[in-house]
Symmetry: C2
Subunit: 245 residues, 2 copies
Amino acid sequence: MRYRLLIEYDGTPFHGWQIQPNCETVQEVIEKAFETALRYRPNVVGSGRTDTGVHARGQVVHVDLTDAIDIDKVKRSLNGLLPRQIAVLDMKEVSDDFHARFDAKKRSYRYHVSIEKHPLSSHRTYIIWREPDFDAMNKAANVLLGTHDCSAFCRIQSETKNRVCTISEAYWEKETYKGDWVFKISADRFLHGMVRTIVGTLLEVGYGKRKAEDMIELIQSKDRTLAGPAAPPHGLVLEDVVYAD
Amino acid sequence: MRYRLLIEYDGTPFHGWQIQPNCETVQEVIEKAFETALRYRPNVVGSGRTDTGVHARGQVVHVDLTDAIDIDKVKRSLNGLLPRQIAVLDMKEVSDDFHARFDAKKRSYRYHVSIEKHPLSSHRTYIIWREPDFDAMNKAANVLLGTHDCSAFCRIQSETKNRVCTISEAYWEKETYKGDWVFKISADRFLHGMVRTIVGTLLEVGYGKRKAEDMIELIQSKDRTLAGPAAPPHGLVLEDVVYAD
């Protein structure tokens, strides 16, 4: 039987999503919780990876379990076994052909910045010290909408060949909390390091280091070296993954 | 010149407030930031200690600085030097006889619990899994109000001799966030481990392990072994310190 789980996590103590040797990753911790609960270790397939320090409020995974289970009981025991930084928010049976990664139609990320220090939410807010020009940043963000080859925002070491993404949403919004802003971006897919590079580039627009109008040229260049530096991971949250159903 | 500072911190990465050998503490990190900014290291006196993992939204400290300073500039450079988990919210000159610890008239703490996991605020919320009887807990909390010898809630190793505290506020309140509750307590002073022991004892009332009516007897016993276990530190925040001025 295949199950679909909705996962929230604080990425601070983990080395990202994907299993790798000698590091504690979110995927590994979840697989080990399954192993303790069910006495065998299933493969947990996520909608996508997140880097070290990146958070998720709506990561979706699928997992194949061999025996019939009491979903509520397994969900409860997973939550009891998982550290407080990881929670299973929802778990349900899905058809055998559902795939958390390949079936995702839209992914949404949020990036939080603040011009003031907020220690109690410092694990998920990037402090930018002085107020950038958010109007200019929104003008630049607007250029991102549509279907483009996004190589200019993709980590150079990435082996992904198809770099065409359709961005359906990209804007900065003031949060109710004084001095806080959030960047909301949605696309059918994201390349490695893409959101953080876009945020770093938009901040350069906001501080007058580049112009909103130059974004078109930047995208067309497909040259990562022409974009801004990646913003730090701890401001980023994988907010939501949408499927056809 | 003496200065009074208002400090917020996430206690997660620190070994409490007070300087001790071979550990990074909030007091030490702040003194070192002063040392970098001013080229000498002043003694930073806090309103009180907080244990490892305990947070503060309103810690008050005083510090004596030998030279005249530009307050805004020093505050800004301290915030730049301090890690993102510690912020100076306010800094002002005070008279030489102001004392952050001895002049404090009232201290307020908050303790956050939730019956659901919230990974993104897991550093400051204690997960209690099932809903206790908050009405019974508030009945028990009400007994705490007034002036008592609070030895029953004081860590046994504590060397403090005067254990009389006047508790002016003690109640549980539902938070807007689903499943979250907060315990608010104010007193003229708190003994070592006092709030966490009170919370642990009230939770036992909430789960039917002890009765609200038995709180009077417990206080009168002055016997720490009769109280409940201390609730974990990460749910606790030093919210506010009030002075006569």
